[in-house]
Symmetry: C2
Subunit: 264 residues, 2 copies
């Protein structure tokens, strides 16, 4: 890395690691740093771009640049899917107690907001293909932003899709005022006679688009982890599809594969 901005980033990275710049503290102003490193503002800011993308730096316009305290990652594992399914058959009082996000975070239901937005869209080709319906068919789209109440660290943005004509059989399912629904999506499907057989997670990573960075309060340059979660019922039909978006620097997914024993 012969470029100046790379060397400055290396130096600042070292200063953060050795404690010269303390986590949570404000860095010297950019004009001071240009004097320290004897570079132009432009070059200095390119160095900060790198640190920001690495999640080590947080920039706040009008205030200053801050060393970012490492945040413990939110863990997510597919164990939740079985847990959600088991919960469906429990009495409502039990189902009320906790939602799936608490399962990840250990937080209680009171600590979370669930601002759910329902609307309908015409199925774009990729979704129509997965659901096995014609492109343009009506889909119910539900958008959830789940975050810790009070904290400024949102967890995830979820876009859930259902085939409208299938779920409208129970009018309560297309009514967003019924959120949060005790027992979640699997219980909602249960009310129209659907039992899930398996869930397939397709995981990719990409830069945030449009408002996503804003919605998730992500720093620019941080990657988004996207889980496209496809739920199949016991007749092998795709009944729900969710895109779960999470900031890559605060999320760890965990999947366990149990292996069969060799014959003795």
């Amino acid at each position: 890395m012969a470029a100046k901005y790379g060397r400055i980033a290396d130096d600042m990275r070292r200063k953060i690691e050795t404690g010269t710049f303390v986590a949570g503290e404000k860095l010297p102003a950019e004009t001071e740093l240009t004097a320290l490193y004897r570079v132009s503002l432009n070059t200095l800011r390119r160095a900060m771009d790198l640190l920001e993308a690495e999640g080590r730096l947080e920039r706040r316009q009008g205030i200053g640049n801050f060393v970012r305290a490492p945040r413990p990652p939110i863990r997510r594992s597919p164990d939740r899917y079985q847990w959600e399914k088991d919960r469906v058959l429990q009495p409502e009082a039990e189902r009320m107690k906790t939602g799936a996000t608490e399962y990840d975070t250990g937080l209680t239901i009171d600590a979370l907001e669930f601002p759910a937005v329902y609307d309908t869209i015409e199925a774009p080709p990729d979704l129509a293909d997965v659901f096995g319906v014609d492109a343009g068919s009506r889909l119910l789209r539900r958008t959830y932003r789940t975050r810790m109440r009070g904290a400024d660290s949102p967890l995830q943005l979820i876009r859930s899709y259902l085939v409208y004509d299938v779920v409208a059989e129970n009018p309560a399912l297309v009514d967003s005022s019924r959120e949060p629904w005790p027992g979640g999506t699997q219980h909602q499907l249960y009310t129209i006679g659907i039992e899930l057989d398996r869930i397939v997670d397709h995981i990719t990573a990409r830069p945030p688009q449009g408002d996503e960075a804003e919605d998730l309060r992500m720093l620019p340059g941080v990657a988004l982890i996207v889980i496209r979660k496809v739920s199949y019922d016991t007749t092998d039909r795709v009944v729900e599809l969710s895109d779960v978006l999470m900031p890559g620097d605060r999320t760890e997914l965990e999947y366990t594969t149990k292996l069969r024993r060799w014959p003795a």
Copy 2:
């Protein structure tokens, strides 16, 4: 996005999608584009930074900027783990036939290179913790770069760690000239009496560091998907840990969770 560079990126994105700029083709030179958009070079290049991070643009110094043809993602699923385990007990002739990378790609063994590098390191705290050994203990580190021969599209960079004193029981296991080993790591462990019970994948996304972007021929700004794969043997001991690094814009991971049926 009131900023000029954002509007320019929007415009160029549209031109790529509508075919004004054709995939694989060279864009007008940057100096021409500055004239077209009436902005400074600096601003234009910030717009191109965005497109590059989105994987839509490829920059080649001294040649030009190119619209990047979308590449089909490489799929990876944990089905391979059971497949690898089943293969261990097969005769060598059978094990020779294919490796795990072909399992992902459908390519034959002839189409792949496996330049393996072996060395030993002192266990850093995080690895020592996972293996349950003292920090500073000797680990065997094996580095693999697997890529399609001839093509310039590498697939993944793998760093595999084993406890040196455990695997040195079979001297062949610490000798890189024995690569590629028919039957892979699970067969290597089999030679010292180890059978795997389960494998846990920890998935995160982060920007590439150091030489990683270069090694994987990644465009700057593209996120790296990292799988930390931890293998447990039948006595619940961690016997191997691999970090598998893949370019986020060319990789899709797939995990299926089978759910138990409700009682009838």
